[in-house]
Amino acid sequence: MRTWFGRLEEKNVILAGNSVNELAKWAESSDSKELTRMADLQSLAMKSGLCPSPEEYRRLLHETAMQVARDHISMSLAGKDAYLMQAVKSLDDLNEAYNILTSRMGEWYGIHYPEQRLRPNELLDFILQHGSRETIPSIGAAMDRDDVAAIQGLGLAAKALFYQRKALEGYINSAMEEVAPNLSNLLGPLLGARLIARAGSLEKLAKMPASTIQVMGAGDALFKHLRTGSPSPKHGLIFKHPLISGSPKSARGKISRMIASKAAIAARVDHYSGDAMDFDDLNEKVAAIKARMKERKKT
């Protein structure tokens, strides 16, 4: 059984240390799975010589838990949103690099097999799996072993980027769950992270008005609107939200205003209180807006 001060083997306690630091390090890396229900940790600690009195037990327990909590918080807060921003930017870099490499490979392989109409991902897998087009009839030039090895080498690098992108998306998902769970829940982790990255930090996003969030990323259109009176932009980055991009054009402006307002609230709750929010009514509201717009069109 693992307790916060050490391990119980047979009937002996093997202490993890005597100082708060040693104990905290041990407790941090332990969970309560092995803890027996209704164990008496205080007597165990006193019997093992960790502390002479119940008062001392309580003090040591408090100090150790404080240390564990402090470590945990600084780990999960210190610059987490800064890391998140870099991860989002890296994801864009990876996408760009992946696209450059795969389009280069399309061109390269096109000399050998101009008839292929595969999508970049599929072509990559095809090249890695088969090398040359083998027996498929084609007007393209022949490819010897060295030619195949050269293009496959590039293909492996592109494939590595592909897997790295997956891994980075997973990282962004879990980091968002910690930094801004409500925003992540409302917009999806990636879009939520993009808004944080664009704002500069979760705190800055939390201090933005909903209208700013709504047109964030549509700066050119916004200033053109302010300068020349052209139509105002209805959505910036949040256009990627499926409820906006998947709605008829006439309703998008209203829906994006509603979602931007929700996002502003979510960012504030995530930053200042950390409570869990509930967005059950979102679909209903979107449906209501769509219905209203449809009605208006008829009249």
Binding site: Q42, R58, L61, H72, E178, D280
Partner: protein, 225 residues
Amino acid sequence: MSAIESIAPAGMNNVFFITTEGKKMIGTLTSFSGEDTFEHEDKIYRLWNPNTSKLASMLMKGMKAPLTKDSKILYLGAASGTTVTRVADIADEGIIYAVEFAPRPARDLLKVIEDRENVVPIIADARYPELYPPFIDSVDIIYQDVAQPGQAGIAIANADKYLKKDGVLIIAIKAKSISASENVGDIFRRELETLEKRFEILDKMSLEPLHHNHLAAFCKYKGNI
């Protein structure tokens, strides 16, 4: 602080009804002076605002919480610690395990319990009591005020792991954290039904008007049967 007219015990360790200018308020006796404390006859008191604390609101409404000076309490949803310090005033010889998941409010929590040796902070997700660092052996009381869906489920998971048989659960059920669209009464009924799998409901009470859509319940743990 204006003139104190009377200070009378409220039936719980270190809790008092304090009357000033004809208004009856609730407060705790504490050994930590701070911004919100005042001294009266060489003792330090803190007024307790039922608007910001569901526990205070329950006590003002006359619910009798079985908190004693040496209670061991598992406090789920410690947030920034406003109510935790009250519970720490009451159970000044006990232990309060204060669980909070969100790092930002937890930072504030650590600040207010820095000197309170009877409070053990645990930064963990209350849904998974198995994953807490192994600080807790058993508790007499679970006090739960979390803003998450599945509140009854959280109470059961924690009780099965840590609550003594016949121990008490004090729970503030927040309907709006479970579903924003469903009927509030339906939500309460469903949560109470779930609780009845493990608990006997001793008392329940709406916390209106101070806390909207909140139901407080006191329940006795029957054990994992």
